[in-house]
């Protein structure tokens, strides 16, 4: 008699009342089939709206197909219709966790196109704020990654310090999330004495706080077993996939734009690039921790060296006049109106400018045919590129690892989908 699925049953089985002869061998019944699981887009740990279609064999991942686009807002198309200054707030909405670094990346690429020289003090403050944002971004990652994995206390601890940084940002530019602080040619406002004092106090206490986070998870058996040897990628593969930032440096590849193509005042500061060895999530955790230490080191040096001077370039066609003048002087008001509404004419040409943001390399490619708006603006977001390696890095792991795997990139879907 023909066998049924899950052959070699242990006892007599009757299907539809029919008697089936029992084979001599006795083995347990096994059902072998692949299982398709839709994960997201509304799963709380999918960092916004990421959907992943998982092909499973038991609990093991055979294939993971990311389905993007749930947050696609056509930022690149919108940018073709806006003047350069009007694009800055759009960039805030890309990586909304670290909005200032997006502003920085964009204004740097426009300044490269315009060949604009930035005042010394503005460069120092830009670097300072970018490093504050890096600490804030990494704290956000550490808290949410630990929360996703199942450790809640770390989240409360890291958000306590992140809150302090956001308070300083609020004092600096009046916003906590979408800050639009950088300007083409400089900055919106200068640092105040109050912020400098708060920052000095923060930096002094920060090493102790990092120690606290590490005390919680550094030797925690659950954290180690859920991050070590999870989402491993070799340095060669990481480069081939185009990974950047801590995701690449965790695999031991020394590529950091702040060192390789220095901008701001990074080349005037004393700091190091932390590198990993195994290319797993545990190494990436250490990379981010050590990057925070380095950022704090840089902030300390900048505060010591901070020069005096203007914070906006002397280029009336491009930069907005001072706010207090706009409120009191008619000419300045007209000037402000013209720059804000009509913009400025950029030269013909094309530039690509990459900036090291907490997640990796954020690049803007601008193609200009002249005029006050870009003909084409292409954003190179690290999160989107990292998702390209997702299937490769997820295969063979268990279903419970999938949260760790997309957390390991520090993805933000606003940036991924644009």
């Amino acid at each position: 008699m023909a066998g049924i699925k899950g052959d070699n049953v242990t006892k007599e089985v009757a299907i539809g009342g029919q008697h089936i002869e029992t084979p001599h061998e006795t083995r347990p019944v096994l059902r072998r089939e692949e299982f398709l699981l839709n994960m997201g887009p509304q799963h709380p740990s999918t960092h916004g709206v990421l959907r992943v279609v998982l092909d499973l064999e038991g609990e093991r991942i055979v294939k993971a197909t990311p389905d993007l686009g749930y947050l696609h807002r056509g930022v690149e198309k919108l940018a073709e219709l806006e003047t350069y200054n009007q694009i800055i707030p759009l960039t805030d909405r890309l990586d909304y966790v670290c909005s200032m670094t997006n502003n920085y990346a964009f204004v740097r690429s426009v300044e490269k196109l315009l060949e604009l020289q930035i005042p010394e003090r503005a460069e120092y403050i830009r670097t300072l704020v970018a490093e504050m944002m890096r600490i804030s971004g990494h704290l956000f990652w550490l808290g949410t990654q630990a929360l996703d994995i199942g450790a809640m206390t770390v989240f409360f601890f890291t958000f306590r310090e992140r809150e302090e940084i956001l308070d300083m940002f609020e004092e600096l530019c009046g916003a906590r999330l979408t800050m639009t602080y950088y300007r083409i040619g400089g900055l919106d406002r200068d640092l105040t004495e109050g912020i400098i004092a708060r920052l000095k106090k923060f930096i002094k206490e920060f090493p102790k706080k990092i120690k606290e986070y590490n005390t919680l998870i550094q030797n925690n058996r659950i954290w180690i077993s859920r991050t070590r040897d999870v989402a491993v990628i070799s340095g060669k593969d990481a480069v081939n996939f185009g990974l950047t930032g801590p995701s690449l440096r965790g695999s031991g590849v020394n590529y950091d734009i702040r060192k390789d193509e220095p901008y701001g005042v990074y080349d005037r500061l004393d700091w190091e690039v932390p590198l990993g060895q195994n290319g797993d999530t545990y190494d990436r955790y250490w990379i981010r921790i050590l990057e925070m230490v380095q950022s704090a080191r840089m902030i300390e040096q900048i505060l010591d060296k901070l020069p005096s001077g203007p914070i906006l370039a002397d280029h009336p066609m491009v930069v907005l006049p001072k706010k207090d003048l706009v409120m009191s002087d008619m000419e300045s008001l007209i000037h402000h109106f013209l720059v804000a509404s009509k913009g400025f004419d950029a030269p013909k040409g094309e530039v690509y400018c990459g900036t090291e943001v907490p997640k990796g390399e954020l690049g803007f490619y601008i193609y200009s045919t002249g005029g006050n708006r870009p003909y084409r603006l292409k954003i190179r977001p690290p999160s989107f590129i990292h998702m390209g390696a997702f299937d490769y890095m997820a295969r063979g792991y268990m279903i419970s690892d999938i949260i760790t795997i997309f957390g390991t990139y520090d993805i933000v879907m606003g940036e991924c989908d644009r």
């Binding site: 696609h72 996939f241 590529y255 490619y365």
Partner: protein
């Protein structure tokens, strides 16, 4: 910083159409048929070593005879230099060979170009839309695509006022 292009231009003298350097960036325009062999050279040659793919994007010039322009950006981690490669594509034959066999990261980038500009990549392992839904009509980043969209939204039955 960019590499010394002398050796490169000698080797590919028949396929390189234009060499441009501005803003400290080197741009080579090549025939689309020669793109993959050039990319192989850029990736494998020790003098070049463009092991890291930065980005792929496309431009639309509706007035031109060859309407689309592909832009490839590579970075060499050992040599710390960048290069940009360009290739023109006509609207009638809107295809180009995929380079995803050289850089795995090109897979997603090419899918995005296909989704947004409608350029198909030969030998691509998974040529599907990536941002837009599968049944979306048109290519949003083409210059003739209206900013308001093509009325696809109004076909939603659940929207009021239909």
């Amino acid at each position: 910083m960019y590499p010394d292009s002398k050796h490169l231009t000698e080797k590919f003298q028949n396929s390189i159409q234009e060499i441009k350097s501005s803003y400290g960036e080197l741009t080579l325009s090549v025939k689309k048929e020669e793109l993959v062999s050039l990319c192989h050279y850029l990736h494998d040659d020790p003098e070049m070593s463009f092991d890291h793919i930065t980005d792929i994007c496309s431009l639309d010039f509706p007035e031109d005879e060859e309407r689309f322009e592909m832009v490839y950006m590579f970075y060499s981690i050992p040599w710390k230099h960048r290069i940009r490669i360009k290739a023109r594509i006509s609207e009638e034959d809107c295809t180009i060979d995929s380079i995803s066999s050289i850089w795995k990261g090109a897979n997603f980038m090419e899918r995005e170009v296909y989704d947004m500009m409608g350029i198909r990549f030969n030998h691509h392992p998974d040529m599907r839309r990536i941002m837009m839904p599968e049944d979306f009509e048109g290519y949003p980043l083409r210059k003739d695509f209206p900013t308001e969209g093509k009325g696809w939204r109004s076909t939603f039955e659940f929207l009021p006022g239909r």
